[in-house]
């Protein structure tokens, strides 16, 4: 039997927790012998790997071979530039298709999070997946979840159970971002958790649907509320839930 905090203990050990959460874990492991033992194990594995593992560096022959290849790439480019005349034509020839694809793939997958909103949403989603952070009010009943938001958040989002369509309502949570208490409705689809964030936002364009750190994010607006569904489930499944909620929101607003 593993303590529910074990992933957070690991995150603490790896320096991934903020000061508050770290203090929380320190307090927890004082009373939990299992997590104390886990910390010892983590330390031992780290020491063994860092001290005993054969530490390799690139062999000099490989280094030389690479240096020669780079030289010949440079020479090719110079020659192409001379042949092509204007230097800017040469400048484009250097971007190989595969390398460009590799570069782009990397930045699509792991961009520096430049938009604070996207950053907040992804962090909130990841944080929610840590033990005991997912749900404040556990219920599959929308008549329990929706009123709960009234006392705990600044907004009252669309809440519904789409169990028949494969999206089970499992509860709700309050989260703070964009300077307000946002409401989060939590759905389960197969083994995946989908967090649907909602917050008041009258102005400004919403971000495009995007993928951050491997999490898909679908945005839409309903009335003056902005919504974002975040999950590591497939795009189609995520869009399916977004569509259901959007339709329901449009229906509510008309009435």
């Amino acid at each position: 039997m593993q303590c529910a905090e074990s992933l957070r203990v690991q995150a603490y050990f790896d320096g991934e927790l903020d000061a508050l959460a770290a203090a929380d874990i320190e307090r927890h492991s004082e009373s939990c012998s299992e997590c104390r033992a886990l910390l010892e194990d983590l330390k031992r594995v780290r020491t063994a790997l860092r001290e005993e593992l054969t530490y390799r560096s690139a062999p000099p022959a490989l280094r030389a071979r690479i240096s020669r290849s780079l030289d010949s790439l440079d020479k090719e480019k110079m020659a192409a530039r001379r042949r092509a005349g204007p230097f800017w034509r040469g400048a484009f020839s250097g971007i190989g298709g595969t390398a460009l694809a590799a570069g782009l793939a990397f930045f699509l997958l792991a961009p520096r999070l430049t938009s604070p909103l996207l950053d907040d949403l992804v962090s909130a989603h990841v944080r929610s997946l840590m033990p005991d952070h997912l749900i404040d009010v556990v219920s599959t009943d929308k008549h329990t979840v929706k009123p709960w938001f009234a006392g705990h958040t600044d907004v009252s989002p669309v809440v519904a159970d789409f169990d028949n369509q494969g999206y089970r309502l499992i509860g709700g949570r309050a989260d703070y971002f964009d300077h307000q208490r946002a409401a989060v409705v939590v759905y389960q689809h197969g083994s995946h958790v989908i967090n649907v964030f909602s917050w008041a936002s009258d102005r400004g364009a919403l971000p495009q649907d995007t993928t951050r750190n491997g999490y898909h994010m679908a945005f839409w607006r309903s009335g003056n509320l902005a919504y974002c569904a975040v999950s590591d489930t497939g795009w189609d499944e995520l869009q399916g839930l977004a569509r259901l909620l959007r339709d329901l929101g449009a229906h509510d607003n008309r009435q």
Partner: protein
């Protein structure tokens, strides 16, 4: 040397050792690792203009990982059957280490080879997160980028990898006591 090459040498080449180590743990064959790293550096150089941001090491290791996957696919297409995992003996260091040396050195090397061997025995997805976290000291976000999985998956893989390594270690220690007594 033009400006691009100079910037490349200053920003990317310092991570050549990390790229090589990562390739060695992915491919497990020194010759394959050489080819993967060479391929990766050339790709990185061609795509260097597209590099934005400061996370050069994670960017380079992502390319190494892609080159490794490409090489694997090519080997499979050619019907290449990889050697079983124990055949790491083609590794020069492993062969040298079998020759008896001064006792302390040989114990030391034996120990090093134990951890090497235990790590080699892990599944690739476990080996790679352990190497990226413990040897390359990358954070979860960077590991997620290089391995192309969500951060949550990085966390659970790391936990499983560490548990698996510890389990193998205990088993090894047990085996040794039995052998001696």
């Amino acid at each position: 040397m033009d400006d691009k090459r100079r910037r490349f040498e200053a920003l990317v080449m310092p991570h050549l050792d990390a790229a090589y180590r990562f390739a060695r743990w992915l491919s497990r064959s020194p010759a394959d690792a050489d080819d993967i790293v060479q391929d990766a550096i050339l790709r990185a150089y061609r795509g260097f203009d597209a590099l934005r941001g400061s996370d050069v090491k994670a960017w380079l290791l992502t390319i190494v990982k892609n080159c490794h996957l490409t090489a694997l696919k090519q080997q499979q297409r050619r019907g290449f059957v990889p050697l079983p995992e124990e055949h790491d003996a083609e590794d020069g260091e492993a062969m040298i280490a079998t020759t008896p040396g001064p006792e302390s050195a040989s114990i030391r090397q034996d120990e090093a080879r134990t951890v090497d061997r235990l790590l080699s025995g892990l599944a690739e997805e476990h080996r790679e997160v352990l190497v990226l976290r413990e040897i390359e000291e990358m954070d979860y976000r960077e590991i997620a980028a290089v391995t192309n999985v969500p951060i949550g998956t990085v966390m659970s893989r790391l936990a499983r990898a560490r548990t698996a390594l510890k389990a193998r270690w205990l088993k090894e220690a047990e085996g040794k006591t039995h052998a001696v007594r």
